[in-house]
Symmetry: C2
Subunit: 254 residues, 2 copies
C-alpha cells in the first residue's frame, strides 16, 4: 500500500493539476467537515443523451433486457444509477435520457465489438467510459494475453472512432482503479499502474475529461479501510459507488 | 392542482419557516442555476445507526431476506438507498450502520404491529419515517376504514412509544406526498391534505424534524411534469427518489 508520504505527494500533484475541484471533493470524503464548493453546474441542452459504458462496475447488475433510459433497474446498482439520479433531479427541465450499457467482464476489445449498437447508435451527447480492470485481471487469470500497449492502442482507436462518428460528443474517461484488498494482490503491480497511466495518456492526447478515480480512492482510504469502498478490491460497495458518482459529477461539472 | 399563486404562497410560508435550507434546495430543483448552499453537515458519532421506516416508497423493492446494513440490495431502489450512499461516502470515518425496514402496503397500524422487532430492537440513533399514503389509499379502495384522526392518534402513539424506549433517538417525520397524476384523482382531496397536516402536527407537537416532501414536489412540478417525478402519482421515479434523498439530507443536515 502507498505510505502516507506517497499519498501526500499524490494529493499534491493532483490538487496542483487541472482538477482542483475534484481534489477538494475527494479530500472532503476523508474530511467531511471541510467541504469545498462544487464546480459550477454546466447547462445541459434539452433532450441530451448521457451514456455510461464499461464493465461490471458500470453494469452493476442492471437488467439488460430493459433498455429504457432513466429507469432504475435499467441503470443498475452502481455509480451510473447514482449519478443519473442526481442529474435527473437537478436538471429536470433538460428532459435528459440516461442509459447504461456496461457489460460485466468487458475489456477494450469487447467494447469495440459492440460499439456501433451499444454506443454510436444511441448518439450520446455525454459518453462516460470506465474500462481496463478486466484487461489486466483476465490476463492474470490466464484468460487473455493483451499487453498494456494493446490496451492503450485499442482504447485510443475506440475513442478516435467515436469522435469521428459523433463530432459533438463529450467523452469522459474514468480512470481504472483498484483497492488494495480482496482479489487485488501484489501481482497486479506495477502493471496496473501502467494501465492507469495508459488511460490517462489517451485522455490527455485526445483532450478528453479524466475522472481520477484511483486518486479519489487513494485518498478515501485515509477515512475508512479499502474494503469499506470495495470488498473484493474491484467492485465498489454502495459507499464506493456513491463516492464515484459524486466525484464524477464534480469533475464534469454537471 | 394548486395554481401558481397558491404555489407562491406555499413557497413563501415554507421559506419563512424553520427549514429555509430545504426551501432553497427544493427551489433549486426547479431552477438548477440558482443553487443554495447546503446546511452545514452535522457530525455523526461513530457507529451511529440510521433506520429508514415506512411503506412501499421506502421499501422500494429491497431484498427483505437481506437484513444487513449498508448493502445496496437490502436498501432497495429508492430514496433510502440514495441517501444512504451519500451518508456512507461523506461520513466514512463514522462507520455508520444504515438499515431499511420499509414494507410495501404498510399503514400506521402495520408499523405499530412490527415496531419492536423492526425499529426499537435496532436501537437507531436516527429514525426516519414516511407513512400515510396507504392509510388513505386503502380507505379509498374500501380495504380500510381508518379516519384522519385514527392516523394522527396512531402515529403520535407510535412516536411517543419510540421516544420513551429510545430517549436519544433523533426522529425524522417525512411528510406524505402525492403527485397529481396516475392513480391520484380528485377523490383523494381534501382528505389527503388533512392527513399531511396531521403528520406535520404530530411532528410539531413532539418537536421532531419534518422533511416537507409535498412542498418539495409542489415546486418540482414547475421544472418537469408530475409523472417525471412519480409515474403513478405515488411511487417516485429515480428522479423523484433522488430529489427526496437530496432534500432529506439537506433538511437534516447530515
Amino acid at each position: 500500500m502507498p505510505n502516507s508520504t506517497e499519498r501526500r505527494l499524490s494529493r499534491r500533484r493532483f490538487v496542483e493539476g487541472t482538477m482542483a475541484a475534484a481534489g477538494a471533493l475527494a479530500a472532503s470524503a476523508a474530511m467531511p467537515e471541510k467541504r469545498a464548493a462544487a464546480a459550477p453546474a454546466e447547462k445541459l441542452k434539452p433532450g441530451s443523451v448521457v451514456l455510461f459504458q464499461g464493465d461490471s462496475i458500470t453494469d452493476a447488475g442492471r437488467d439488460r433486457k430493459n433498455g429504457q433510459p432513466n429507469n432504475w433497474t435499467a441503470l443498475g446498482r452502481g455509480y451510473a444509477c447514482l449519478a443519473a439520479g442526481g442529474l435527473l433531479a437537478d436538471h429536470a427541465e433538460a428532459q435528459l435520457k440516461i442509459y447504461n450499457r456496461g457489460v460485466s467482464g468487458n475489456k477494450v476489445p469487447d467494447l469495440a465489438g459492440r460499439w456501433q449498437e451499444d454506443a454510436l447508435a444511441l448518439e450520446p451527447d455525454v459518453l462516460s467510459i470506465l474500462i481496463g480492470v478486466n484487461d489486466i485481471w483476465h490476463k492474470l487469470n490466464g484468460r487473455y494475453d493483451g499487453t498494456v500497449e494493446d490496451y492503450q492502442t485499442g482504447y485510443r482507436e475506440l475513442l478516435e472512432k467515436t469522435l469521428a462518428a459523433l463530432p459533438g460528443v463529450r467523452i469522459i474517461v474514468c480512470e481504472p482503479f483498484v483497492l488494495r484488498c480482496g482479489a487485488v494482490s501484489d501481482a497486479w503491480f506495477p502493471e496496473f499502474d501502467q494501465r492507469r497511466a495508459a488511460a490517462r495518456k489517451v485522455a490527455d492526447e485526445l483532450s478528453l475529461t479524466l475522472v481520477p478515480l484511483q486518486t479519489m480512492f487513494d485518498e478515501a482510504v485515509d477515512a475508512a479501510p479499502p474494503d469499506y469502498w470495495a470488498a473484493d478490491g474491484v467492485h465498489p460497495t454502495l459507499a464506493g459507488h456513491a463516492l464515484m458518482a459524486k466525484t464524477w459529477r464534480s469533475v464534469i461539472g454537471i
